[in-house]
Amino acid sequence: MKINKSFGQIVIEVLISIALFSLVAFSIATVLKDVISVLIGGVSKIRATYLTEEGLEGVWAILQENFDELEEGIWDLKISGGKWELSEEIEEKEGFLRKIFIEDVEELKELKKVKVELKWKNPESKKEENVSLSEYFTNLKDHVLELNSATYLRGTPPPWTGQNYTVIFSIKPKFLSQLEGAGLFASQDTSESSPSTPFLEIEFDGISSYQVKIGEKTIFIGPVEEKWSQLAVTWNGTEFKTYYNGQLQVSQILSPEEGEIEFRDYILGISSDRTVGFAGFYKNLMIFERTLNDEEIANLFSGNIPSLEGLKLFWKINEGEGNTIKDYSLSNVSGTITGLPLWEDFLTIISFEEAVNF
């Protein structure tokens, strides 16, 4: 047998090539294994997500029958006698462990936080994974009015002069990009009367704030956010105050000629000159013929109704159908919606933060 130099070189080259080739092959195989692990885990994740959703839907169904059945605690959902039932026995099924956490929310009665958590072991990576979904459930059966650029709400009271007054309402813009300086509220319809008459108007400033126009003065409050906000203004004969979400923002001394206005129209959803509409939701317009103090405004924001003394108007705007808005004050000034009203289920547009703040 003859082994020459060139043969030895060839063997080494071949061995190096095989080593390199094996290294590349091993790397590819490792990457592929990880990809497979993720993909198989992906199917498990979809299964887990649907089981989580089942938990929320079951709780929702129980809520429809009896809200009080949603007791605080950790539960699983079972079917017993053909009905959904919350069970204290939490068992692993097909490798998935589901826990439903129910908590009462102290800040707002009749509101519960429901969190559904699923844990399982990824069959490939053997790592424990989890997915969870949370919702805030309430038994409030309520509606809110959505106005767009073609609809607005108007009520006409017997004219009264506001020597002391408070105007307060809640609003949620639908799309911040579509505000475009739309009008929100006006104390009188300037398209039918002299614009020089003192009036109150709250509208979007076109940038990021609400602007309160009281006669010739303009005061900015806000910011405008794509969630429920409560706006309030008060006048006590010398001082004009603006509030945002229950908190005093601006206080200004005005002369009686500047701050005193004659209420002849209550308008929501369009500017006082009827040129620009507003896309969004409204709720709880209250007008008082007295000056609510800081504490009363803050309480109202927390959902506590103050003394109803001097209440001139209370539109809950929760009718859910039709074009007429009932006035819950003794004044009986009902509102009429011009255009096609769109009523939304309050639950579909509420979120926890908004619910507490509302």
Partner: protein
Amino acid sequence: MEKGITLIEILIYASLLTLTVSLIIGILSNFLFFRGVILTREEITRSIIYLLEDIQREIKESDEILYPLPGDSSSEILLRKEGKDLTFKLEEGKIIKKIEERSYTLSPNTLKIRSLEFLHLKQVENTPSSIQIKIEVEYYNPINLRGYEFSSSFQTAITQRK
């Protein structure tokens, strides 16, 4: 120096060649296997999301659930939505959606639906109906390709919102 190759050289070359070819075949085979695994998982995930979302949306927005009756389960559900009858049912391994007289096959040819079950939960009168949905699915693999054998089951529920 004599020219030509020796027997040992031939044997070494032959074994190295065999090793290399085996490695290539192994890698190709694994590549095809992994491709099958990836494809089946992707297809099943995508299809299940599409199927269940459609079924859930229609049940959620329906005015009435006519069949199965509360407490019963079936592989078919009949809904009334905006005055029209709407059905989802299992037929020869496929999910069929029927609106009035028009039928559509919802599941793709690559999937075989092994079972579909709608359980209509009992609710007190005048409250929204709730349906538990169970579905078992397998990837269609008539010639038993390696890597393409995959099946899974999914379970969820939906409650009417109207």
